[in-house]
Amino acid sequence: MTTLQALNRDRLKELFDLRSSYNSLMGGDFQTDPYPLWARLRAEAPVHDGTVHKLSGYPGEAFFQGLPFPDQPHFSAFTFAACDAALRDEVTFASSPAVVDGTGEIPGFETSMLSMNGAMHRRYRALVQPSFVPAKAGWWITKWIEETVQLLVDGLVDQGRAELNVDFCAAIPILTITHSFGIPIEQALEVRASLGTPAKIAAMLAPIVAARREDPQDDLISVLVQAELRDEDGVNQRLSDLEIYSFAILLLLAGSGTTWKQMGIVLTALLERPELLAAVRSDRSLLRPAIEEALRWTPTDPMFSRHVTRDTEFFGKHLPAGSVLHLCLGAANRDPARWDRPDEFDPRRPVKRSLGFGGGFHICLGMHVARAEMLVGIGALLDRLPNLRLDPDGPQPRYIGMYERGATEIPVVFG
C-alpha cells in the first residue's frame, strides 16, 4: 500500500460516526454520562434486575452481545468483584445460550469462538493466539500499522487542523485488520459496511482464502488456512472455508470498531488535559500508562454478557438457569473498592488490571494489537504535529454511546 487515495472520506465519516444510523443499534447516540448513575447502582447492590441500558435510562432498545433474548430474565452486575467472578467462572456463566461447535450453515460471530465454551473455545483460540501475543506486536507494527499511520499523518500534517476521530482514529484499525487479511484498500470500507451481512464478507474473502490455500503468505488468512485443529480423537484437521469465514468475521468485527473508539477516548482525555499531554509528549514512557488508564476510566465496550447455565446464588441475587447476566465493566472499572479516586483520569496511578479488555477465557484476543495501534498512532501525532491542541473554535469532544462508547469528534489545531 503506497497511497490512501482510495479511502473515501465521506463514506468513512458515515461509517465511523457514533451518531450515524449505522452505529445507533448499539446505542451510539446515547448522550447522557452514565457513570454517576452506575456509581449509585454499584453502591446500592452488586447485582440488579434488568439490563444495563434500561437501568441507565436508555430510551428504547439497544443491542450488543447478550441482547435481546426477550424471553429470558436479565440481570446486571456493577461491582468489580461480581464482574470478575462471573468472567472467571465459565461453567456457570457461559458465552452463549447453546453449544457452539464451529459447524453450521451460516458464517458469523454467532458460530465463531466468541460464542464457544470450554475446551472447544480453547482449541479454536489456540490457533490464532500465537499471532496476537505481545511478542508479535512488532510484526503487526512493521507489516501493517506503521505505514498506515504515517500515510494518514502525511495527509493532514500541512493542514494545520484536523478532525482526528474519523480521519485518523477510525482509519487505522480498519486498514490494519483488512490489510492483514489481504483485502485491498478499495474494499476496506465495504468490509466495515457489510459486517451485518456475513455472506457479503464471505464472498470478499473467498478468493483470498483460495489463493492462500494455494500459496500461503505472511498474513492472517494464511495462518488460518494452515492452522490444524486437533479434534477429540486426536486427529488434526484443517479449518473449513466456513470456519475461516466465521473466524475472519469475528476478527474484522472486533478489529475494526473497538480500537477506533478507544484511541479517540485516549486522545480526548489527553487533549482535555494540556499539562498531561505536555508531560506525555516530553516523556513518551507515559503514553502506555495513559492508554491503560483510559481503558479503565472509559472502556469503549462497557458491557459484555454471560448466560447462566444453572441456578446460582450470586452476590445477593438468585439467578435462575437460562437468565442473562450483563456485566457492566464500565462500572466495575470505577469501583472504589479497587481504585482510589476512581472517577479521576490519572495515568500515574499504581498499575493494576482493569476489565477494559474483558476477562476470563474470552479476554480480548486483539488487545496487544490494539495497544500497538494506539501507541504508534498517538505517538506519531505527538512526533509530527507540534503544539497539538483542541481547536478552541470547534465543537468540544464529548463522550457518548451506550454499549459502544467513544468521542463525538476531535477537532484539533497544530503548528
Binding site: L87, R88, R122, R125, A126, Q129, P130, F132, V133, P134, A135, V351, K352, R353, G358, G359, G360, F361, I363, M367, H368
Partner: protein, 71 residues
C-alpha cells in the same frame, strides 16, 4: 531470592496465552511456541510486580508458591 519470596507457577491447562502477565511483569514472563506463559526469569521483577501480574491473569492460570514448596 530469599525463602519467603514467592515464585510464579503456570498452569498450562488454564493458560490461553492472553499475555496479561507479560504486560504487567515483562521481566519475568514470556510465551513459548504454543503461546503458553513460561517463567523466563524468576528474579526478573520485584515480588510486588509479580503479584500484580499473577492477579491480572484472566484465567487464573498463575499462582505464587514459596521457594520451599514443591512446584
Amino acid at each position: 531470592m530469599s525463602v519467603d519470596q514467592g515464585v510464579a507457577v503456570v498452569d498450562r491447562s488454564r493458560c490461553v496465552g492472553s499475555g496479561m502477565c507479560i504486560v504487567y511483569a515483562p521481566g519475568t514472563f514470556a510465551h513459548d511456541d504454543e503461546a503458553k506463559a513460561v517463567v523466563l526469569d524468576p528474579a526478573g521483577d520485584d515480588l510486588e510486580t509479580v503479584e500484580i501480574a499473577v492477579e491480572a491473569c484472566p484465567t487464573s492460570a498463575l499462582r505464587l508458591v514459596g521457594d520451599q514448596e514443591e512446584q
